[in-house]
C-alpha cells in the first residue's frame, strides 16, 4: 500500500532558485520572450505532441509559474486560450552602492521597476552598518506595496566578490569586508530569495546590456572611473567574469613603466595615475604651486578640499591647468584601452563612474588616444561614449543579475 504524505494546507511560497526540468525550462524561455502564447504555438515551437505540452503546462501552472491570459485570435476554429509567464509570482530587489550613494529598486519578474529609492551612503562604513541601511530602505520600499519579504525571490547586490561564493575578496578600499558574506547577511531577511552578488562594474555593464546602450551589442566594455578604475566586459552577449572571476580588473595595468609606485607595489598602474585621487592630487598641486589661480580660489572656498566638481568647473571656465590634468588622465586611460581594443575588438566602450561627471574633455581625450593607438580595423565601427544610463545602470544590472539566477535547470538523469 503506498504511503500518503500529509499535505500542507497553507500554500507554500516558492523559493529561488526555482528548480525546473529542461523541458519546463524550454516553455518558460518561450513564455518569457513573448507577451502570451497558445498551446498550439508551444507545440509547434517544441515539436512536442499536444498531450506532452498539456502535461508540461499543467505542471508549471500548478507551481504558479504560468497563468492563463485571455484568448488569442482565432485561426479558423475556436479562439485559443493564451498562456503567459506569471511575472507577479514574486519580486526582485536590486541594490546599488556607490562611494557616496545607495540606490534600491523593487521590480517584478519581468524586470519592470515598481518602486525605487535613492539616498546618500558611505561605502567606508562597516559592512553591518552599510547593509543594515540597505535592509531598512528595502523593507520600507516593500512595505509601501504591502509586499512581504518572503515574496522576494531574488536580490542583486554589488561587492568586489568571489562570484561563486558570494563573499568579498580582498577589497583594497574596504578591508572590513574581507570574507564577509553578503549572501549570508541577506538570506535571513529574504528567506525565499536567491542572493546574487557581483562587482559594481559588472552590474553596470549588465544594466546597459539589458536596458541601455548595450542592448543588442555582443561585445562591449563598460569602464568605471572613480576612486579606482575597473571594467565590466560583455562577450558574446553575456558578462565575462573570467576564470577566477577577476576579469575587467584593469586598474592595475601598467600605464607608464616610468610612472609612480602604486599601493599594489607595481610601477605606473593606471589607477594610481589616472583615477579620481590622482586627478585630485594634481589639482591640489596646481592650486598650491600657482599654476591655476582658479583652482586656488576653489581650494580656498572649499576649505582646503578640491572635489571632482571643482576640477570640472575649472575646465568649463577654460582653466589651462585643469584642462591639462583631465586630458592627461584621459590619455592614460585611452592608451590602456587602445591595447584592450586591439585585443578584444569591442563595438562599444561605455564610460561611467564618479569621474565621468567631470565633463566631455575627459571623454574626448580617451577617444583620441584610443583612435590613435588602436588598429584601423578595430576602430572602424567603434563607439566610445559616456554611459547613457548613468546612475541607473548599477541598480538595473542588480535586478537583472538576480533574475538570471531565478531558475536552475536540472536535467533528468536519462541514461543516454
Amino acid at each position: 500500500m503506498p504511503r500518503t504524505a500529509a499535505k500542507p494546507i497553507a500554500p507554500t511560497l516558492p523559493t529561488a532558485p526555482l528548480i525546473v526540468s529542461t523541458h519546463a525550462a524550454q516553455i518558460i524561455a518561450a513564455l518569457r520572450k513573448r507577451e502570451a502564447i497558445s498551446r498550439t504555438d508551444l507545440a509547434r515551437l517544441t515539436g512536442w505532441s499536444r498531450p506532452k505540452v498539456t502535461g508540461e503546462v499543467g505542471k508549471l501552472a500548478k507551481r504558479s509559474l504560468l497563468v492563463e491570459s485571455g484568448e488569442g485570435a482565432s485561426q479558423g476554429g475556436r479562439r485559443p486560450r493564451l498562456l503567459k509567464f506569471n511575472h507577479e509570482l514574486g519580486y526582485i530587489v536590486g541594490v546599488d552602492i556607490g562611494a557616496t550613494s545607495m540606490d534600491i529598486a523593487v521590480a517584478d519578474l519581468n524586470a519592470q521597476v515598481l518602486l525605487r529609492d535613492s539616498g546618500p551612503a558611505d561605502v567606508r562604513d562597516e559592512p553591518l552598518e552599510l547593509l543594515g541601511e540597505a535592509k531598512r530602505r528595502a523593507l520600507a520600499l516593500l512595505a509601501r506595496r504591502d509586499i512581504r519579504p518572503k515574496q522576494v525571490l531574488g536580490v542583486g547586490v554589488p561587492g568586489p566578490v568571489d562570484f561563486i561564493k558570494g563573499v568579498l575578496v580582498a577589497p583594497p578600499l574596504m578591508p572590513a569586508w574581507e570574507g564577509f558574506s553578503i549572501r549570508g547577511y541577506f538570506h535571513p531577511i529574504f528567506p525565499s530569495a536567491f542572493i546574487a552578488v557581483d562587482n559594481d562594474v559588472n552590474l553596470m555593464a549588465l544594466g546597459e546590456l539589458k536596458g541601455g546602450a548595450g542592448l543588442g551589442q555582443d561585445d562591449f566594455i563598460f569602464v568605471k572611473i572613480g576612486t579606482g578604475i575597473g571594467a565590466g566586459i560583455v562577450c558574446h552577449g553575456v558578462i565575462h567574469r573570467g576564470h577566477t572571476g577577476s576579469a575587467g580588473d584593469i586598474g592595475h595595468i601598467c600605464a607608464d613603466h616610468q610612472g609612480p609606485i602604486c599601493r599594489c607595489g607595481n610601477v605606473g598602474c593606471l589607477e594610481a595615475m589616472a583615477a579620481g585621487p590622482a586627478i585630485a592630487d594634481r589639482a591640489l598641486a596646481a592650486a598650491q604651486n600657482g599654476a591655476s589661480p582658479i583652482l586656488a580660489h576653489k581650494l580656498a572656498v572649499g576649505q582646503g578640499v578640491l572635489r571632482a566638481e571643482d576640477v570640472a568647473a575649472a575646465v568649463r571656465e577654460g582653466d589651462h591647468a585643469a584642462i591639462e590634468i583631465v586630458q592627461r588622465s584621459g590619455q592614460l586611460i585611452g592608451d590602456v584601452l587602445a591595447g584592450l581594443v586591439n585585443f578584444f575588438n569591442p563595438s562599444l566602450i561605455l564610460v561611467g563612474g564618479g569621474v565621468a561627471t567631470i565633463g566631455n574633455q575627459l571623454l574626448a581625450s580617451i577617444r583620441q588616444a584610443v583612435l590613435r593607438r588602436s588598429t584601423a580595423l578595430a576602430t572602424r565601427e567603434l563607439i566610445v561614449s559616456y554611459s547613457p544610463m548613468g546612475g541607473e545602470a548599477g541598480v538595473t544590472g542588480a535586478i537583472h543579475l538576480a533574475l538570471e539566477h531565478l531558475f536552475v535547470v536540472q536535467a533528468k538523469p536519462s541514461g543516454v
Copy 2:
C-alpha cells in the same frame, strides 16, 4: 490531381552547408555527441512522441545524414536498433600555411584525420602560386583514397581575413593578397564544400580547443610569436573574433612609450620590439659589435644570416648576449600579456609560432613578467606554457573550422 516531379536517378551529393531544421539539428547534435543512440533515447532526450522521432529520423536517413548502426543492449524487451551520425557522408580538407611550410590533412566528419601531408612552402609567393600548391597537394592526398573532390564538404584555410566575406584584408606582409577571395579560389575545385577561412592564430587556438591543451578550457589565449605577434582568443568555449573580426591583434599594442617607431607608424609596438625580426636584428648587432663571439661565429658559418635556431643554440651554449636578447623579448611580451590577463582573466596562455622553438628561456621570461605584473587573483590558477600541439594546432583547427560550418540551422517560420 497532385503533380509528381520527375525524380533524378543518379544520387546527388550533398552540398555544404547542409541546411537542416531546428528539430533535425537537435537530433544531429545528439548523434554527434554519442557513438550511437536508440530511438527511445532520442524520444527521451527531446521530449517528442515516438511518431515524431520516427518522422525526423526518416527525413535525416533519406539525406544519408544518419545510418543504422547495429543493436543496443536490451532493456527487457527487443534489442533496440541504434542510429549514428554518418561521418562517412563526405570529407573535410584542412590546410595550414606557415611562413615556410604547408600542412594539409583530410578528415572524416568526426574530425578523424585519414590522410596528411607536410612540406615546404613560401608564404611570400603570389596567392595563385601558393594556393595552387595547396590545391595540388590536397588533390594528390584525396586521390590516394579515391576520394572525389565533390565528396569534400568542407575546407578550412588560414588567411588574415574578413571572416564574414572570406577575403583577405590588408595583410601587411602579403600585399598581393589584398582583397583576394580564398573562398572564390577553392569553390570550383571543391564544388560541394563550404570554404571556411580564418586567420592562422584563430585556427591554432581552435585546434588546441578541440584536440589539445584547450580541451575543456572556457577562456584561454593562444599567442603566436613569429615574424609578427598575434593572439587567438577563446571566450566562453568558442573563438572570439570581435566586432569587426580583428580580435587578438596584439602585435601593435604599445610595449614601450619610448620604443622605436613601428612600420604601422606608432611608437613601441610589441611586434616591432619583440617578434622574430627584432630578435634577429639584436642578434646581428651582438654578433657584429663583439658582444657575442658565439653569435659572430654562427654569423660567419651562416654566410651573413642568423636564424632563430642560431639564437636558440647560442642560448643553450650559455651565451650571455643571446640569453639577454631572448629574455628582453619575453619580458616585453609578458608585460603586454600581463595587462591582458588582468582584463580577460584566462585560465591558460599557450605560446606557439616559429619563435617558440627558441627554447625555454623565452617562456620563462614571459611567465615571470606575467606573474610580476598581473593581479594575484588573475594568476592564482593561470598556466603559461608552450602549445603542446605545436605544428599540428593549425591544421587541426582548420578541420574543425570547416566542420563548424557544415550545418546551417534554419528555423521554420512558425508565426509565433
